[in-house]
């Protein structure tokens, strides 16, 4: 898109760039603080001693490397499954000519508003035989009703003429979906893929609930144990206090870094799909 390079536009640019820059700065500094802390033993803003001990400690354990592998595996495979099933359902729901569409939409909406809770869900996961398998981390949370409904909205934004043109050519529905709809929906696929990936990457509770074998636990279990637990109850000698392992501040921070950076760096690679209007423009033009 091109704007005239008028003075007004330049001032507007200046304001926009500065505002965004300031906000970006405010979000970066604390992360840097976490990063710096992971290299030092103290809570100082600028440490006197720099050390790699925390990272050395983390990577020295088999458990860490293994659970990182588990996380990557379930995130990749799970995102694929989630994205496939969600886009298929959303695409179906985006077609206003499908009888029963409203009922399905209501059902999906209903699951956003109400949920059965932990114990009933556990029974279902057990009944389908997923307990103690990595599938338990991918299938029970495979689809989000929220994303289904929003994604449906994206499909509805695709001009009908495109589909109709293909239908007149006699193309199979599957071909239309794969060749026309999906390529046009890359921004949505990128966005929802990212949402699912982050959700899969961040889950830890279902791992503890559904999987006994600690060898199959993802990295977040470790993170939760180290970062969250240590902030739990304190000085409560009748409860569990003495059982808590002590971690230095640096280990806590290093774990935060190691457990977030892999998923964090996914985003920049997806960003090219958000480039404004490129896709529709090219198809239409």
């Amino acid at each position: 898109m091109v704007y005239d390079r008028t003075l007004g536009n330049r001032i507007a640019d200046g304001i926009i760039y500065t505002l965004l820059g300031l906000f970006a700065l405010s979000t970066t500094v604390p992360f840097l603080y976490v990063l710096i802390n992971s290299f030092s033993g103290t809570e100082d803003l600028w440490p006197k001693i720099w050390t790699l001990d925390a990272y050395r400690y983390i990577f020295s354990t088999d458990r860490f490397v293994r659970s990182l592998g588990v996380s990557i595996y379930i995130t990749l495979l799970g995102t694929f499954l989630s994205l496939l099933s969600t886009s298929l359902l959303s695409y179906g729901l985006s077609n206003r000519n499908v009888p029963g569409r409203r009922a399905i939409l209501l059902m999906v909406l209903f699951t956003i508003l109400f949920n059965g809770g932990m114990i009933p869900t556990y029974f279902v996961v057990r009944a389908v035989g997923l307990i103690d398998t990595l599938w338990a981390l991918m299938i029970p949370s495979m689809m989000s009703g929220f994303y289904v409904i929003v994604m449906k909205e994206f499909f509805q934004n695709i001009p009908d003429e495109l589909k109709e043109a293909a239908q007149i050519d006699g193309a199979h529905e599957l071909i239309i979906f794969l060749r026309i709809i999906l390529p046009l929906s890359l921004p949505a696929l990128a966005a929802f893929g990212l949402f699912y990936a982050v959700m899969l990457w961040n889950q830890y509770f279902s791992a503890i609930l559904y999987i006994q074998d600690s060898q199959k636990w993802p990295i977040q279990v470790l993170l939760q144990q180290i970062v969250i637990q240590t902030s739990g109850s304190f000085g409560d000698s009748s409860a569990m206090s003495e059982n808590m392992a002590f971690y230095g501040q640096s280990v806590r921070m290093a774990v935060v870094i190691v457990a977030t950076v892999p998923i964090l760096i996914v985003y920049p690679f997806l960003q090219k799909h958000f480039a404004k209007g490129v896709l529709l423009g090219s198809v239409k033009g």
């Binding site: 640019d13 965004l20 979000t27 604390p30 956003i112 949920n115 059965g116 993170l223 209007g277 423009g281």
Partner: protein, 317 residues
């Protein structure tokens, strides 16, 4: 009424008898096949466990199971509504949810629009990535950072002290609680929230901008007449869905920010039920509070959907 809705209506009116229904279904059979895995998923993993909702009406004990536990009717709801703090909890939850809706939600849209206006691609991607980073810090870390900045001996108070300002009690003063919650929320999740809008913005037809430019439309006018209408349906849907979970607030965040001095404004349904129900393993009570929140959400979604339709939007269903 939009063109799409009109065609829908026409089609529906035309298919009144059963044979034509079957015919219509046969015509879109592939769509049923597309949807089958998804529908199956929702039936198995979301609808099947739905019996858990009934726990709210009994004294559920895991050991006795669903059919063995005693049915107590509305006892848990009675207890919940007669909690001395109920109205206080309701007010606190409502206000924070409202601020979330009228401050946080628009902020994400504005941030997305601002990002959309940046033409320097490297700068845009850099900012986009950096503002998205805090989403990945857990609330424990974010609240920790807040304390370092705003504590009695925090960075801000130290700086203020240098220029002779009086110490501000950000963490204990109830007046600061809601602003802090919303600020944290914006800081942590606004960048994350832009993603969906940026994806929607990618679908806006560029030719419209070119036409507008030739017409001499100003930048603001282009945003108002092209960009926003282009993502309007996504905004509406997100808004309605947000209302469905209106009373669900970021539990962890509020729980970590609570202290005895701000509890009167800070305690919300989620933190209350965590302390009273979940920590103590009282499943039925937690389920009752959850059911109450969901019902409120249901009503709000219903109303919002009606309003959206009245305004010519398609709504959710």
């Amino acid at each position: 009424m939009s063109v799409a809705a009109k065609t829908e209506k026409v089609q529906e009116l035309s298919g009144l008898n059963r044979t034509s229904l079957l015919k219509r279904m046969w015509k879109v059979r592939w769509f049923y096949i597309f949807m089958a895995p998804g529908i199956l998923y929702f039936l198995i993993f979301k609808i099947w466990p739905m019996w858990g909702v009934l726990m709210a009406f009994q004294n559920y004990q895991p050991v006795k199971g669903m059919w063995g536990s005693d049915w107590v009717g509305f006892r848990h709801f009675d207890r919940f509504f007669s909690t001395p703090d109920f109205w206080n909890l309701f007010r606190n939850t409502f206000l924070i949810a409202l601020y979330d809706l009228i401050v946080f939600f628009p902020t994400t849209i504005i941030l997305a629009l601002l990002l959309n206006e940046v033409r320097h691609q490297v700068y845009k991607r850099l900012v986009q990535t950096l503002v998205y980073v805090p989403h990945f810090l857990s609330w424990v870390v974010v609240v920790g950072i807040t304390y370092i900045l705003l504590g009695s001996e925090g960075v801000l108070n130290k700086l203020g002290g240098l220029i002779g300002l009086e110490r501000i009690n950000f963490l204990f003063n109830p007046d600061w609680f809601r602003p802090l919650i919303i600020l944290q929320l914006i800081w942590k999740d606004a960048g994350w929230g832009t993603i969906i809008f940026l994806a929607a913005l990618a679908g806006v037809n560029v030719q419209l901008y070119e036409a507008a430019r030739i017409d001499g439309a100003s930048r603001l006018r282009q945003v108002w007449h092209i960009t926003l209408p282009g993502i309007r349906n996504v905004i509406v849907i997100l808004l309605i869905l947000r209302l469905g979970n209106f009373l669900d607030l970021g539990f962890e965040q509020i729980f970590l920010m609570l202290n005895p001095l701000n509890r009167e404004v800070g305690e919300v349904f989620d933190t209350y039920v965590y302390r009273v129900g979940i920590l103590e393993g009282q499943f039925s009570y937690s389920a009752a509070v959850g059911l109450f929140k969901s019902t409120v959400g249901l009503v709000l979604v219903f109303i919002a959907n009606r309003i959206a339709k009245a305004l010519g939007e398609e709504g959710i269903y």
